[in-house]
Amino acid sequence: MAKIANQDITDKLNTKFGNQITAISEPFGLLSFETSVTAISEVLSFLKSDTELKFNYLTDITAVHYPEKKEALGVIYHLHSLTNNVRVRIKVFITTANPNIPTATTLWEGANWMERETFDFFGINFTGHPNLVRILNVDDMTVFPMRREYQLEDPNRIDKKDYFFGR
């Protein structure tokens, strides 16, 4: 199993970045924390290049939208240290008005399409990305469909309203 404890990773990050690392938690043993948009590049490159941690594998980049929050868009990175067999989850929250975040393509080539997908569905602007264009949706789409304000179905349909189900 994991060769390095989550506590050791947190200690290392805290000594290096101090109060830039917030909201540390371990849901189901997977270390998760939040960081700021200014620190994210540093954090990713530190995690990747640190000789002890070696988070050299980018598992996934995705996003989530919480419309009721002030910083509504969350970008979520999953990193994996294959040598230590441990994963880590990093979140960065940004506003819909200013959805800019530095790209991770400088560290991993594989981030290219993951970021394009995230841009396509959430409108996250990865600054410095070599070719940030839509990937799965059509080019002339004007909205970012995975944001919560866009409903799946025709909003005029009434047969699926919650009150018919007692909710």
Binding site: T59, V64, L82
Partner: protein
């Protein structure tokens, strides 16, 4: 190169072959080309038979699964996972069930774990059979493909016996299986374990030391481990480069730690290595299934789901005759069961690599956010860059051996 990617439409490149004296030709490979086995478009710039550069265009069968999943209760999302990698849908189904079980903290009985392992390894074999069979077809050897398809049919008959479906299986439920494997299913698995090895052996004899096949595949699309990791490759194609990363070993799920099997790795990461590696993985899968069948004999019979009445639908006759069962049935269908407000990432080793499910739950009837980490999507992005400098016919077999499934690519 200036007219290669246009400013107005960077994602959907088109070519303007205006210069009749130019050296380069434009070739639209796909989206419905018979050699690509799926809806893939690659716009290639050719210098004779050699590819100079290319752009992959994807999204032709995008069906917005992540958006749909936000509007469906957990047990209805299984059918969405079927339609991602439709060559090995049981692995997707099981991966999703296990994600939800991890979220809900359901402990599975060992017998269910072993039954799941059997189903998953059978579907890994179907996945690899398709990939290696098609690779044979693309290199000009049709016979092996036909031999293998017969065996895939036998595996589909096993699935049919277990769940009633063949391709999009919707197999199992959250908390176990919908019904126990019947005797016919076990008999068919036993028969398969007996009949398949000689056929796989024959298939290997046809290809492994075949001069034409080796000349055709060796050295094609060779990738070094650093590049593969940099592009976040996973699955057989990563292991063919020499990286021994397999989710079944790194983070054992469904009691894989109880089994004795090996993870084959390659050295060069070329098409030939991937072919040999997939064959070897099929042998290992057979080993695992045999062990699982042995282990099942020691487990108490008739257990096919965990005892979680809040999440596992009771049998219909109980719903009509029994108060508690009726209540649970109602609560499950109407989504009245409380679920923890947290997030979970669960990965399984799919046919093509690490298939991950990232689920953010807000305690409601449906997931707040569900993201699929689809190995085909992430593996495919190296295809166009690595095709530069290749012969067109090599690029075709390279795509076959990457085993990109359009449904998983586009989700």
């Amino acid at each position: 190169m200036s007219n290669f990617i246009t400013e107005t439409s960077p994602n959907r490149p088109y070519y303007t072959d205006n210069d009749p004296q130019g050296d380069l030709t434009t070739l639209n490979l796909g989206p419905t080309h018979p050699a690509t086995h799926g809806v893939f478009q690659n716009v290639l710039q050719m210098d004779g038979e050699r590819i100079v550069s290319g752009v992959s265009t994807i999204g032709y069968i995008h069906r917005a699964f992540e958006k749909i999943a936000e509007h469906r209760p957990f047990y209805q999302i299984t059918t969405l996972t079927d339609r991602m990698n439709y060559c090995s849908s049981p692995i997707n189904n099981m991966g999703w069930h296990m994600t939800v079980e991890k979220l809900l903290g359901i402990e599975m009985p060992k017998r269910v774990d072993y039954l799941r392992v059997i189903v998953m390894e059978l579907s890994r074999i179907t996945d690899h059979l398709i990939c290696n069979g098609i690779l044979g077809v693309d290199t000009g050897a049709f016979t092996g493909f036909l031999y293998l398809m017969e065996e895939r049919e036998h595996i589909y008959e096993i699935f049919e016996e277990i769940c009633g479906a063949r391709l999009t299986t919707n197999i199992g439920r959250i908390g176990g299986f919908e019904r126990d494997f019947n005797d016919i299913a076990f008999a068919k698995i036993e028969k398969f374990l007996e009949k398949f090895p000689p056929i796989l052996k024959e298939f290997e004899t046809l290809f492994n030391r075949n001069r034409i096949f080796i000349d055709r595949t060796s050295g094609v699309g060779a990738v070094d481990p650093e590049t593969a990791l940099n592009y976040s490759w996973s699955g057989p194609i990563l292991r063919a480069t020499g990286v021994d990363y397999d989710v079944r070993v790194n983070e054992p799920y469904s009691s894989y730690q109880d089994f004795d099997f090996e993870i084959p790795v390659g050295t060069k990461g070329d098409v030939y290595d991937r072919f040999i590696l997939r064959n070897e993985e099929m042998w290992q899968s057979l080993r695992i299934i045999e062990q699982a069948m042995e282990k099942l004999k020691k487990e108490p019979k008739g257990i096919f789901h965990a005892d979680v009445p809040e999440f596992y639908l009771p049998p219909k006759e109980k719903v009509y005759n029994n108060m508690e069962a009726l209540i649970y049935h109602f609560k499950i269908v109407m989504g009245e069961v409380d679920t923890p407000k947290t997030e979970v990432y669960h990965a399984v080793e799919g046919g093509n690599g690490e298939l991950g499910f990232y689920l953010i739950n807000d305690g409601g009837r449906t997931p707040y956010r569900l993201h699929f980490r689809r190995p085909s999507f992430i593996n495919y992005q190296m295809y166009a860059p690595m095709s530069g400098g290749m012969l067109l016919s090599d690029a075709i077999i390279n795509m076959s051996s990457l085993n990109i499934i359009a449904g998983e690519l586009d989700a």
